[in-house]
Symmetry: C2
């Protein structure tokens, strides 16, 4: 008797941008990757949220776009592939025992390039000049180049690691912060969270690509922000709640911090009455600094297809999230 | 009978920042460069504008800080070393037959790095997001990285050449525009002014480091700006009047151009009632994008000291300005 096919539910979000849809071309690519997939798999690509309860019920595998609804219905899931890198919102919804893999790595190139852009903006006082423009104030600053200045990268995964590589090309001294503190390519000094306080006073640019976990939430609190020199700048491309954002705003307001480039916020979209909109010395980008839609889904589907091969071969999955660590 | 010493007038501007003063240490460096200088030269370092007429009168050589007053008084000048790269303001004041050398090269590192910063800002819609912040508008753009996009660099001297080098590191296709159109390092396609129209429609980033000369004034007029695609951005770090700035502002306003990063303006400081302050999709920096005060005077004095050796040896000077070309 032939084995029953493995049921895969692919949930599209009809409200998301076309660039983030799983298309028939993606399906064809997944199926064509190995000859036995057409017989072993039963894949449903679901564009209709009304039918999610019915179509997801028997799924063993879920390919989940942003804000999936399947998790409340698919009780037999053994593996979920997310198209996000940060999964703090998905983890609590995961059925017990199911594996979760994320899209880590997809954001490497753009995330690293945006870190370079953010550090250059901080160095050349762009947040300050944006406020000066609003106040019709002409106040030049003849800053030196990046060479020899020090950046602390909170998180040296795919995004932070690529940022480190690009910053090194311009002569920046890079301190990388990770759980292990182990050596990393393109990082001059590798430290753990425990060493942050020692290095903050020498930091010109504090850049975070950290995910939100129990360990990182509130990591950079008011006391730590106060350890930065007044001329320092902050850039956040990971999750905002790693920082005490009220304290950060206060320091931008009273100029005990020179500037910030924030792509992420405690509440998104930032509500119209939020004080962020009027915070001076701040460049805001609307949570798009690491996502490159021209390559995004293609890369997510490549991770999924590769992991599918591993799953069928009972081999360890790539990008497996550790529920205890949270990433 | 011993030869009379050569009189050198060094004019400081007491209104300029301390970083732009010629100091006793600079004097010592110039004198120490060759043993015969102490006997052959009579150098006056003049910090007092009231005495300029008297002290500059007999000078054969002038080391001129910004906005020098000596030129109206020193009728016997044979050589003027300026600390500026752009000399369109000095040239008309130069006594007939006097040589003028500029500070070209001093701005290389910072100018190139700022070009990189400007192109990254344009690519990641920072001018747009600055306007969005003012209007409390949350509108993400999931732009791709720089790789494979095309920049046109108007001017590939020290600043433009360093910009080209840094842009190439990120995979940008660089078209360099110069008078000769001869091949340049780090430039994929080298063209003359005559070829600009052909390339503008394929240009994502138009970056100018051009000086102001008869040839460059108004070079990028309304018609040429209209040849750029709507998604293109403009950055100017040379002289503003190379562009029709009214046309440029109009295109930012009606969004037929995506954004601009302007460090220079037709009138500086930009007056309080200027329409630039309220132009949307525009990052303004106050004419400081290429000047690094931590190294500026040191480098100018090095050029001067080197040129002084050449002058005394009757050898050709470095950075000699051609009055016909204007740079």
């Amino acid at each position: 008797m032939p084995q029953a096919p493995i049921r895969i539910h692919i949930e599209n979000n009809p409200e998301s941008e076309p660039a983030l849809r799983f298309t028939p071309e993606h399906l064809e690519r997944v199926l064509a990757a190995h000859p036995d997939r057409r017989s072993r798999l039963a894949i449903i690509v679901n564009d209709d949220p009304e039918r999610t309860a019915e179509l997801a019920a028997d799924a063993e595998i879920l390919f989940a776009v942003r804000k999936p609804k399947s998790l409340g219905h698919a009780k037999r899931l053994r593996w979920v592939q997310s198209i996000s890198a940060g999964v703090e919102g998905l983890l609590p919804l995961l059925p017990p025992g199911a594996l979760l893999t994320n899209a880590s790595g997809v954001h490497r190139e753009k995330g690293g390039e945006f870190i370079l852009a953010a550090v250059l903006m901080l160095n050349y006082a762009i947040p300050r000049f944006a406020s000066d423009k609003e106040h019709r104030r002409w106040a030049p600053r003849f800053e030196s180049t990046l060479r020899g200045k020090q950046a602390m990268l909170l998180g040296v995964g795919a995004i932070g690691g690529e940022g480190a590589r690009l910053l090194k090309q311009l002569g920046v001294t890079v301190v990388g912060v990770s759980r292990s503190g182990g050596p990393r390519e393109h990082v001059d000094e590798s430290i753990t969270f425990a060493d942050i306080d020692r290095v903050l006073p020498k930091t010109a640019f504090l850049v975070s690509s950290l995910p939100l976990t129990r360990e990182t939430q509130g990591l950079i609190d008011r006391r730590r922000l106060d350890l930065l020199p007044r001329h320092a700048g902050v850039a956040i491309v990971g999750r905002a709640r790693v920082f005490d954002c009220d304290a950060l705003r206060a320091k931008l307001q009273d100029e005990t911090l020179a500037g910030a480039v924030l792509d992420v916020f405690p509440e998104e979209p930032v509500p119209p009455d939020s004080p962020f909109w009027t915070t001076p010395n701040l460049v805001m980008t609307p949570h798009c600094s690491v996502d490159d839609h021209s390559v995004y889904m293609e890369r997510c589907v490549a991770i999924f297809s590769d992991n599918l091969g591993r799953y069928l071969a009972r081999a360890p999955l790539r990008n497996l999230v550790d529920p205890q660590r949270g990433y």
